[in-house]
């Protein structure tokens, strides 16, 4: 039995503790926002916040996150359903194409802007290593700067 919270809701699962958090979320908790893209922490589609830190959940054994607070893409909007600043920037810049990788980007960028509310392009390049096969990178970069601008005004 492993206990933790997901998007502020308590979760209690009885699974093999070596099962990756990604598959516990998707198969045992029905939280489908985090995606399987590679299984080896290369692409970032599975990223979630674990105690606030952007982490590839596909290689994180659930047994090692007991007591942690997990936030998935579904948890970025507020309780009323209002999109987060980062999600709003994604809409305004019309970032996603197929969209499959974007939950991971939204998580990674949320963490980046928490640590560094106004990153330079070089800092963005260093921090955001997710893969997008559709090639939305130019819009992702613009959306990050837009979200940073919104944060600086708030």
């Amino acid at each position: 039995m492993v206990a933790f919270t997901v998007n502020e809701t308590p979760a209690n699962v009885s699974v093999d503790p070596s099962k990756p958090l990604l598959w516990v979320l998707r198969e045992d908790l029905g939280i489908l926002g985090p995606k399987y893209g590679c299984g080896v922490a290369q692409c970032g589609a599975c990223r979630v916040l674990i105690d606030g830190v952007s982490t590839p959940s596909c290689v994180m054994p659930v047994g090692s996150i007991a007591g942690a607070s997990i936030v998935t893409v579904e948890g970025l909007a507020d309780a009323q359903g209002n999109l987060s600043i980062v999600q709003q920037a994604w809409i305004e810049e019309q970032v996603p194409q197929c969209g499959f990788c974007q939950p991971g980007f939204l998580i990674a960028v949320t963490d980046l802007l928490r640590q560094n509310p106004n990153p330079t392009d070089a800092e963005i390049d260093a921090a955001i290593t997710n893969i997008c096969r559709c090639g939305t990178y130019p819009r992702i970069r613009r959306a990050i700067h837009r979200a940073a601008g919104t944060i600086s005004q708030s």
Binding site: Y36, Q97, C98, T129
Partner: protein, 769 residues
């Protein structure tokens, strides 16, 4: 579902069909004469009024627009819904929902991809008959950048037809002539009296009226939506992480499956050495060989199935290709360039004789491109249920229900189960790029579902299976020759390409017949350079079979032939002592549409402005998918050979543009897809098996090495043209030409660079010595 007042059933019967066919045959009537049998008539179903095959209006004003093409990132669900909303005078807001219909209606057929004509361009009984055949086959697929090209006119007609029906219903309700009514923002208004009725109020009455014989389309000057930036209808769900993809399908009582394919394509399973051990693994319910060639594990969860699959110890039968390597395949493809008589695609102006007579001025070069994978972000998957009564239902991120329906029948057949009916749900795709037009994963899943009747089975290929056991863009080589005149301009052009026929490979898996490899237009597209003024030209192709399974891949033949030919045009310009843009301008002197695009991209990029040492610009232009697209790449090559693409400028004449922001997005994404392929992508073979398995050895550009892409849309009088693939097409040649400008090195093989790992999830690309 109760169908009231539907003329469709009647009109689809043989007698009526024959009558209309006769009219079409005698009169040579075009598309509009056929639409009334194709479902532009309505019916009622509960609170919804189906006005035609593309449009449903609910009592409460909600609107469902059917877009029978897969949304895999292109934005077509938005653009095509805009077309209906424009003609219907409907506000483009969140009351509109876009769906991929489950009914395989004839009006949805993708006949553009077969006949290469837009519906509204076609006329005559031959095309009409073809349309009927495709309609009856339910041939609905997404590809060849054709979705907007092939549906924009039918969906305009659908919107205009429904609008007229709503006006007629309003006229009856208000007791005024239809001519006294106007439509605006979802209402039918009687201006004289100020009375108005909403579409929701009128929809039920409108759906029972006959559709107009010749609906009046809006004039271009009256458009309010088309040509404006509209937000995509699918993005709110996508940024909230809602479960819209095939992989997200969850059904009651669902089983999960993982799979292992033979390392060497074509190998059969001899035996599973540790089957008893695998069956004892946690959660495993079934271990089974599929069609003699794959092993699947069915379990209570995918993670359990995949864990068990890693433990599999399979003995594969020997094949003739167990020792084949990339070097062997490369030798084979180069040898094919020397066959005595390649298949002749085109021979105009006696090119061979002119070339023989001008040996001194001959420019000749040989180029090569490797196998590459699709690597869609969503790995290949499908979910299928087969019930005891013979009905089946499938949920697949697929490029078309035709692949789903045929795939389910094929796979169930492997299990000895005959499927009587298939309901196909085309989900959103996490990328597709041609990969999802194959029935492979559908058939595998249907086989498993037929063994476990009554329970849905979801099969997901691991990323390793997806990259190394999937389908590939073929490798290719070409030898190009050009005889130049005293002014440096071409006298004759001679091209031969050697590649593995994609159509033959696709047909072998998906069709009951095989057209054979010769004349495969997807192998030679991009080779003929018909837009260039070449006084004589000869184009030939040679098929080179291999054990590798070839699939459709974003821009197919253009993805290598345009790299070959547009690199070669730069080599000819160099031999002629001409600037690459000036040289192309001379070759395009009778092509104003191409010149406009070329001039636009040159202006955008500041062609001719000085660049620092180690930097260079390269250009390429192509006509493809009815669009004309040109790119200029800017590269920097460091002293240690590191090559970076800094920016890609792109101009495109894509005809009429419906949602300009999404055309820009497609061209940006296409250019980056092309840049990754040009610099990084290569599938290699050792001992018959693909070496690459995941993103660590089949790398994709990330933010740190993705260039900025600046796009300019050239105004056009053409109807909508393709945009999904054109962005990919010029990228490789533009980058290779830029590297030449920066370094003086002419690179004739893809990928242009070697990818080095320089840290966790970080790479750089370096020119080989």
């Amino acid at each position: 579902m109760a169908r009231l007042m539907s003329r469709r059933g009647f009109l689809m019967t043989g007698a009526a069909l024959g009558g209309t066919a006769l009219v079409a045959a005698v009169g040579g009537v075009g598309y509009l004469a056929t639409v009334d049998v194709d479902g532009l008539d309505g019916f009622l179903d509960g609170d919804r009024a189906v006005l035609n095959a593309f449009l449903t209006i609910h009592d409460d004003g909600r609107v469902v627009i059917n877009v029978p093409r897969a949304e895999m990132g292109q934005g077509i669900h938005t653009g095509l819904a805009m077309v209906v909303a424009e003609e219907l005078e409907l506000p483009f807001d969140d009351r509109i929902r876009v769906e991929f219909p489950t009914e395989a209606h004839p009006a949805y057929s993708t006949w553009f991809n077969v006949f290469q004509v837009r519906p509204e361009e076609a006329s005559g009984p031959v095309v009409w008959a073809g349309r009927r055949v495709l309609g009856l086959l339910g041939f609905i697929s997404t590809g060849a950048s054709s979705s907007t090209m092939s549906l924009w006119h039918p969906m305009r007609v659908a919107g205009a037809s429904a609008r007229q029906m709503l006006i007629d219903a309003g006229a009856a309700r208000l007791g005024v002539p239809a001519s006294a009514l106007v439509t605006r923002d979802g209402f039918v208004r009687h201006e004289a009296s100020g009375r108005s009725l909403s579409y929701g109020e009128l929809a039920a009455a409108a759906a029972t009226l006959p559709p107009p014989a010749d609906p009046v389309l809006k004039q271009r000057a009256d458009w309010r939506l088309i040509g404006t930036r509209q937000q995509r209808v699918d993005l709110p769900a996508k940024v909230r992480g809602e479960p819209v993809y095939g992989m997200d399908v969850v059904l009651p009582d669902m089983l999960h499956a993982a799979i292992r394919h033979a390392p060497v394509f074509g190998a059969r399973v001899s035996r599973i050495r540790n089957e008893a051990d695998i069956r004892a693994e946690a959660g495993v319910l079934d271990v089974v060989i599929i069609n003699e060639r794959q092993v699947a594990i069915v379990a209570g969860s995918w993670w359990q199935a995949e864990q068990a699959a890693w433990q599999l110890d399979v003995a594969w039968a020997a094949t003739a290709d167990d020792a084949t390597s990339s070097a062997d395949l490369s030798r084979r493809i180069h040898a094919a360039l020397d066959v005595a008589q390649p298949y002749e695609i085109l021979d105009a102006g006696d090119a061979a004789t002119i070339i023989d007579a001008n040996a001194q001025s001959l420019v000749e070069a040989t180029y090569e491109a490797p196998f590459v994978a699709h690597a869609c972000m969503e790995p290949v998957n499908a979910t299928v249920i087969v019930r005891d009564d013979g009905s089946a239902e499938a949920w697949v991120p697929s490029q078309g229900p035709v692949n789903i329906r045929v795939g389910v029948g094929t796979g169930a057949g492997w299990a000895g189960v005959e499927v009587a009916s298939v309901i196909s749900h085309v989900t959103m795709s996490g990328g597709a790029f041609g990969r999802r037009s194959d029935l492979d994963v559908v058939a595998q899943t249907a086989f498993l579902a037929a063994r476990h009747r009554g329970r849905p089975v979801k099969l997901i290929w691991s990323r390793e299976e997806d990259i190394s056991r999937g389908l590939f863009r073929s490798h290719a080589a070409a030898r190009l020759r050009m005889a130049l005149g005293p002014d440096g301009l071409p006298l004759a052009y001679d091209a031969v390409v050697a590649t593995q026929s994609v159509i033959q490979s696709v047909a072998s898996r998906n069709l009951p017949f095989n057209p054979g490899p010769d004349g495969d237009r997807l192998a030679v597209e991009g080779l003929d350079k018909l837009h260039y003024a070449l006084p004589a030209r000869r184009v030939r192709s040679q098929d080179v079979a291999s054990h590798m399974p070839i699939g459709l891949w974003r821009s197919n033949g253009y993805s290598f032939n345009t790299f070959f030919t547009e690199s070669f045009i730069d080599e000819c310009a160099l031999a002629a002592g001409k600037d690459p843009i000036a040289y192309r301008r001379a070759l395009l002197r009778e092509r104003p549409r191409h010149l406009a695009v070329l001039d636009r991209v040159a202006e955008l990029a500041g062609w001719g402005n000085a660049m620092a040492p180690g930097r260079g610009r390269g250009v390429a232009i192509e006509e493809c998918y009815r669009s004309v697209v040109a790119q200029i790449a800017e590269v920097t090559v460091a002293d240690d050979g590191e090559v970076r693409v800094d920016r890609i400028f792109c101009a495109i004449d894509a005809g009429l543009v419906i949602n300009p922001d999404q055309v820009i997005a497609q061209i940006q994404g296409g250019a980056l897809f092309g840049a990754t392929s040009a610099l990084m992508s290569e599938i290699t073979v050792q001992s018959g098996a693909v070496v690459e398995t995941n993103f660590h050895d089949f790398p994709i550009q990330r933010l740190a090495n993705a260039p900025e892409v600046i796009v300019s849309i050239v105004e056009s009088n053409e109807p909508p043209c393709g945009v999904g693939e054109p962005g990919v097409v010029p990228a490789a040649a533009a980058i290779a030409n830029a590297i030449f400008a920066a370094t003086g090195r002419r690179l004739r093989s893809l990928p242009l660079a070697v990818t080095e790992t320089i840290g966790e999830r970080r790479t750089r690309t370096v020119l080989a010595d």
